[in-house]
Subunit: 321 residues, 2 copies
Amino acid sequence: MTTRQDVLAARSRIAGQVRHTPLLSSPALDALAGRHVLLKAECLQHTGSFKARGGWSALSALPPEERARGVIAYSSGNHAQGVARAAAAFGVPAVIVMPADAPAVKIANTRALGAEVVLYDRANEDRDAIGASLAAARGLALIKPFDDARVIAGQGTVGLELLEDLPDGWHGEVLVPCGGGGLTAGVALAMEGSGAVVRTVEPEGFDDAARSLAAGQVLRNARNGGSVCDAIVTPAPGALTFPVMQRLCGVGLVVSDDQALHAMVLALRHLRVVLEPGGAVALAAALFAPGLPSEVVAIGSGGNVDEAVLAAALARFAATG
Amino acid sequence: MTTRQDVLAARSRIAGQVRHTPLLSSPALDALAGRHVLLKAECLQHTGSFKARGGWSALSALPPEERARGVIAYSSGNHAQGVARAAAAFGVPAVIVMPADAPAVKIANTRALGAEVVLYDRANEDRDAIGASLAAARGLALIKPFDDARVIAGQGTVGLELLEDLPDGWHGEVLVPCGGGGLTAGVALAMEGSGAVVRTVEPEGFDDAARSLAAGQVLRNARNGGSVCDAIVTPAPGALTFPVMQRLCGVGLVVSDDQALHAMVLALRHLRVVLEPGGAVALAAALFAPGLPSEVVAIGSGGNVDEAVLAAALARFAATG
């Protein structure tokens, strides 16, 4: 069972290796939302997403002789870069198994970080099986994207920074873009006992966490790909993350792809940061979801967007004057 | 004569009212530049530019009875928003004189901050005369955009943050987008004695600071408008800023509009922040100028870009794979 103590230990291991990201806000966004919205800009993190935290946390926790043989990860792109960056810094090989339809920018950036990229077909192949087989063949340590206590603890350091930065007396909800639940579970553990309510946010059609939380058991998505929110499309909540979310999180939220794209444009316009669609779902909920309190934090989990997607969204949600 | 002591005093007055902005970097940008480039992301400042500092610094330094009558500023847009934000927070009226061809987003944002906007024709009218006349008629305190010791001191707090955040032993140059020289002079004062070399960066055709520094006297630009770098187009260095720059700054740098637009796209792609073209000139110099040392800080001074300009630049400098 991952605990808050694990998150504190991860913070010690990654100190100085990740950015303490800022909390951004804008009067214009607050007016749009009808509430005070703070964006935790993890898109400004090294590698462009919070995954740099979990990657460093996991590699720094490996026994040195195991780490020296190298690591392997499977990822739609952000975890890939987080693991590749940490591996490069530790001077050990990294093999990354990525879906062939991942954004080109993520594949290119992962290679630029020195990793060997192995592509697979997201619709017809099982990345877990591919990862396990490569790991066995080459003696690599497998760093799972979310169902790993060291990874969950690393992502939880986002929550520790929130506790540090939120003003005294802040009472609100923390909205977290949720794929497999590593960030959500980590943040919920970090903030346990603080009074803040942590909630998952997912895109329509890929709301496995919200449905699983409602049902009290792990449910799967019908599809494994095809969302513009590629960063947070996973088959189901993890075996390690789900019990934490079940114990600590509120009801899950769901936003449309259009709302995610619109939130991405509004972040660009009013906060001057680039989010990817999957990284913008929590901001979308903060802006557009009914029934939220007057103070929310939205975690902007990543910013590795394909520029064609960004340009199309800019044209579609152009400022009207 | 504005001094480093004035900058320290400004920091005390604006503490808690402006953001301590992050220093961002990326291995991809370093590889492109052939040097280590840090971006001081003032585009993440309140109102989207460093001008929130000078605005607050100036208003907080006014005698309360004078401040209560209201303030007036003339600005291409960023100073407008900085003054408007401070005026709104102090609960006093603000009148802002803006060129009619300022980016629509800046005019809209200034109005949204509660200011009264008066438009003028940049090519044929003199904003100083307009500002002085309105100030006299309504008893408003004029907050000049750069030639004001309180404003220079406020902008200089950017330099104090650099001193705090740069690693021990950092030896490099600090490149500053330069219009009238308020930011440059302030940063140079803040960093006086630190060993860092502060240099102005301007767009081609509007290199009044570089030419003035080379000539040892204030020279004017041939034109007053028509640059995509609208934020930093001013007629000439200021009477207060020029002596400071002359005493403390290195040789001025000049970049092309294309380089500024390209740097804007690279900041979006690799640092996930939005710069406006004028705010990207120092980054452009860091990336493209010859003869710079191995470590530079580029100040990303603002991010209030018209989205049509951003979209066109994205298409023009599209990633090639």
